[in-house]
């Protein structure tokens, strides 16, 4: 049984000019001890998938449906109290985008890590001990416990956030753009840490990024998201080396390479307005290979196995 199974997840928001179809039928699964990269441009619905998994959707949700199974338990069927007490943070935890700026500035970092433990009636001494172990696990010195957030560098804050997410020993960790505010060397250090945690704690990781190159640093499987749908999903080798969907090919062509004399290309146009996504394949207005069928009929995933892409070209 996979750690996480998502089936037909939909999450629509109420907007001023109609419902925004931020997540529109997303399915994937994740085994323990592996990482799935969720890759796409800004506004493709990646963060909304994460909010869906945490059941933290905002008030203006117009519609949600689908199934999210954690260890076979359908999380959407649980009532909120049950989910809050036994699932959120305990089984599935998240590091939010831009969370580095959301520490409480007047509380010591260690106290902020230990807080959920105290809430759960763990004694002060024991909470401190467990927090220090976590700091060690994310390669921060024990002195970090008694520091204030402003005393930490960006990379240290990001590590502390990971420690905070891990405090109740979740099996699934969602990371939303955890390194986009860091420079490359610190980013590489955080990625090294995530690789270790995946291996040593057997964590399942959903890694959200706009950078397909960065996703290859951690992820065993990669899902490419476009306009609320998964346009392609498969093993990292398949998606990176033999991408089936033109959008994935374009994303890869946009990556500046260090060793090849190849100009990065950009994708003309911009992602569609999700209140009224284009008919047929949602990528068709920007696709260089578009033909008649793409404009009218939405392609199902081909072939329906481990590596699949929603593109009519694959049927030929």
């Amino acid at each position: 049984m996979p750690l996480l199974e998502v089936e037909g997840l939909k999450l629509h928001y109420r907007g001023a000019s109609g419902d925004v179809r931020a997540v529109d039928g997303v399915s994937f699964s994740l085994e323990a001890g592996t990482a799935l990269g969720l890759v796409g441009e800004s506004g493709s619905g990646k963060s909304s998938v994460a909010l869906g998994l945490m059941r933290l959707w905002p008030r203006n949700v117009a519609h949600f449906s689908g199934r999210v199974l954690l260890n076979g338990v359908d999380c959407f069927k649980l009532d909120e109290g049950e989910f809050r007490r036994h699932y959120r943070w305990e089984k599935v935890a998240m590091v939010f985008q831009g969370a580095m700026e959301s520490f409480n500035p007047v509380l010591k970092v260690g106290e902020q890590i230990a807080e959920p433990l105290l809430q759960r009636k763990v004694g002060r001494k024991e909470a401190r001990k467990q927090s220090l172990e976590l700091l060690d696990a994310v390669l921060l010195p024990p002195s970090t416990y008694d520091r204030y957030p402003h005393e930490l560098s960006g990379g240290m804050k990001q590590r502390a956030l990971i420690a905070m997410a891990l405090v109740l020993h979740p099996q699934l960790l969602i990371l939303d753009e955890p390194t986009s505010a860091l420079d490359v060397i610190v980013q590489a250090e955080v990625m090294n840490l995530l690789k270790r945690l995946k291996r040593e704690l057997g964590l399942g990781i959903v890694f959200i990024t706009h950078d397909i190159a960065l996703s290859s640093d951690l992820c065993d499987r990669i899902a490419v998201m476009y306009a609320g749908e998964l346009s392609e999903i498969g093993g990292a080798d398949g998606v990176l080396l033999r991408p089936g969907h033109p959008y994935t090919q374009k994303l890869l062509a946009a990556v500046p390479l260090l060793t090849e004399e190849k100009e990065p290309e950009f994708i003309p146009g911009s992602p569609p307005d999700l209140t009224s996504p284009p008919p047929g394949c949602r990528f068709h207005p920007r696709c260089p290979y578009v033909f008649d069928r793409c404009r009218v009929e939405s392609p199902p995933p081909f072939p329906a196995n481990e590596h699949r892409a929603r593109c009519w070209l694959l049927l030929r």
């Binding site: 420079d183 060397i185 090294n192 397909i212 290859s216 093993g235 990176l240 946009a254 500046p256 260090l258």
Partner: protein, 280 residues
């Protein structure tokens, strides 16, 4: 050929607060020299805290260096008063990292791009409109008339950055200092902005200082690279040489850290350990 901009032995020391009353000096730039001829592009690459943004501020003369000289077009502008810098300000413009905070949310694109023309008293109203629509077209915000009426929140990150570029173009600036202009954009917009930079540079023979922490975009855009570390330029040379034969261990760590799309990456740790020993 004369240099357009020449930074000579720049030292910049800030006074950081220590305790309640004390101050401690922080050396942000420690004897940096850099020269650019008209039409040159150089990439300044380093991590946060390496002094690259401070150098940008000195090159833009937003701050006066503690010591050293700043020459623009042969004239010493190190200590000029703000009033006498007006000519320089027209010719040298900055583009900054965060297009979400660098544009005034209450100003339409039109007002944002026209403002520098008003400040520098260029043209009458008609002439200004003509220049601004021309600039919007050049940065491919088309149809220009439509984009001119939009507010920043109606634009994507890439489009906002193009508004910032249009602001430089209307003034016919000669030198552009771009401080991490693409680091908050996704890969496609990043490629688009950099290709736009290159196109404009060729058309107007613009001079560029491109500041980044990412060697892969530096390679894409700049023929010359200067690597900064702890307030000093530790390595400089033609881009291809710096990337294929890095001399300084810090350059090697920067190269090792660049994410590249390779599925085997997930099985190895990146060797960026130079950093951990060097940082206090």
């Amino acid at each position: 050929m004369n240099d357009l901009l020449s930074l000579q032995n720049i030292r910049m020391v800030y006074q950081a607060r220590k305790g309640l009353f004390g101050f401690t000096p922080v050396v942000a730039l420690d004897g940096v020299s850099l020269s650019l001829a008209e039409g040159d592009t150089v990439a300044l690459v380093g991590e946060s805290g390496s002094g690259k943004s401070t150098l940008a501020r000195v090159a833009l003369r937003l701050v006066r260096p503690t010591s050293g000289r700043v020459l623009f077009d042969g004239a010493d502008i190190t200590a000029l008063s703000e009033g006498r810098l007006a000519g320089f300000r027209q010719q040298v413009q900055g583009i900054f990292q965060d297009p979400f905070s660098s544009l005034d949310p209450f100003m339409r694109v039109l007002d944002t791009v026209e403002e520098p023309l008003i400040i520098h008293r260029m043209g009458n109203r008609e002439k200004r409109r003509e220049l601004l629509y021309q600039a919007l077209e050049e940065v491919r915000l088309v149809p220009a008339k439509e984009f001119a009426k939009k507010f920043p929140h109606q634009l994507s990150g890439g489009q906002r950055q193009r508004v910032a570029i249009a602001r430089c173009l209307v003034l016919r600036s000669r030198l552009i200092v771009a401080d991490e202009p693409v680091s908050l954009l996704d890969a496609s917009s990043r490629a688009e902005i950099l290709s736009l930079f290159r196109e404009l540079q060729h058309r107007h023979s613009l001079t560029f200082i491109y500041i980044t922490h990412d060697l892969s975009t530096a390679r894409q855009f700049a023929p010359r690279i200067a690597i900064m570390y702890r307030g000093k330029i530790v390595e400089t040379g033609p881009t291809s040489q710096v990337i294929t034969q890095p001399q300084h261990p810090y350059t090697r760590a920067l190269l090792e850290a660049v994410p590249q799309p390779d599925p085997s990456n997930r099985f190895r740790e990146r060797r960026v350990g130079f950093q951990e020993t060097a940082r206090e």
